[in-house]
Amino acid sequence: MNNDLDCHPATEMINKYVQGSLPTGWNVVLSAHLELCQKCRQEYGDLESAEVLSWSEGPVEEVANDFSDLVANIIQHPQQSAADIPLSQESSITEIHMLDHSFTLPRVLAKAANDGLEWKKLAGGINQAKVNIDTETQCEFIYMSPGSQTPMHRHQGNEITLVLDGSFSDSSGTYEAADFIIRNNNDEHQPVSEEGCLCFAVLDSPLTFTQGLARLFNPINRFKFRKTIARQS
């Protein structure tokens, strides 16, 4: 774990995770980090206790509904017993194999990868496997082969990267397993990995890009843009 940089989610983000108010992709990467990081797991436990307390003491909304039939209806249902529940729901995939390495995945990522991963080779020794988790974020496993280097790039929106195995470096430092890294559109970076690195990354969905240059890449806007230019010339 990287000790010089703060490679953990901020308290505010963990709190939103506790409350259930984050997009699913962000929930997934937080859940995976918590499984790997005892410090944040502890913080999660404390924040959850506080949230439960404020929930149970907080203002209640008056329900303009008569629930009296509901109780009668509910108690008609059979109750579950311990025997009805499997001890743990194991995913069929719990490991990822890349080259001659195999990596054990955190529980939620094993579940997300359960339908199988389709790896795509990108430039510079980078491999990418997208996972369809929700429509608000774009989630993917990234495997950087040993000696790989991504081209210099800038992000639109936010990107969270969780290192699962191996390490990579950029101008800010070196990141190792369990590190949780947030980048936004102010950051320009060029990650390199000497030993190889498996990550899980979550990006804001491209659909949410509404600002700056991104507008120009929207076909309709680009068309309008061209027309404006033509009229001016």
């Binding site: 959850e48 929930w55 509910i74």
Partner: protein, 211 residues
């Protein structure tokens, strides 16, 4: 006790682990599960439906969805009541988790999101056993008066049967994950979990009596 993993805890021990205050949420929840008591469930419903509704309004800002959540969450409380025991923490936090998770799954279904991950995959399941080492008093608001230090627990641990000692040492003292501990001890994950549960129940009882 609904949990069949507890053969070593005889009935007198079980009673010492049961909540005492008959009006506490924990007592009502255990009653709901143990004797399908509609009276106990009714009280829980009265106490929690407006809280769940408020949570729904906060997360969905929609009255109909919030009413659906009350129905969905309280149905789950009824159906799962037999699975609740004090090792899983307070009744409040157990019901909170159910409501939050059901709300999350409801919204995902409504937004037609892919169903590859559910709320139960996303939020930790083993919270109960991790917070299980809280001494009895902490469950009833006497926070801070009884802090179970690792060293104290370690000394109580020696009174447990060897196999239970081994799993507790791996998980609570050496901080290994359940998977790692099962691998090191060369036992199936299910065995590890049930030994852990037994050991923790026994420990709670030892600490509760002695402190």
């Amino acid at each position: 006790m609904p949990d069949t993993d507890h053969p070593a805890v005889d009935s007198s021990n079980a009673r010492s682990l049961a909540p005492v205050d008959p009006d506490s949420d924990e007592y009502l929840l255990v009653e709901t599960g143990n004797s399908q008591s509609s009276k106990a469930f009714n009280r829980l419903f009265q106490r929690y439906s407006s809280k769940i509704y408020a949570m729904g309004m906060k997360l969905t800002r929609n009255e109909q969805l919030s009413k659906d959540l009350v129905q969905e969450a309280m149905l789950n409380v009824w159906r799962k009541a037999r699975l609740y025991d004090l090792d899983r923490g307070t009744a409040q936090s157990w019901i909170f988790t159910i409501a939050r998770n059901r709300c999350f799954d409801m919204l995902r279904k409504l937004k037609r999101q892919p169903n590859c991950v559910t709320a139960d995959d996303i939020w930790p399941q083993d919270n109960g056993s991790e917070s299980a080492l809280l001494p009895e008093g902490a469950l009833h608001g006497e926070q801070g008066s009884l802090v179970a230090e690792a060293s104290i627990i370690a000394s109580y641990c020696k009174q447990l049967p060897e196999p239970q000692q081994a799993v507790i040492e791996q998980v609570y003292i050496l901080d290994r994950t359940h998977d790692e501990a099962a691998e090191i001890l060369k036992i199936p994950l299910g065995t590890l979990k049930s030994r852990l549960r037994l050991g923790v129940a026994k420990l709670r009882q030892l600490i509760g009596i002695d402190l």
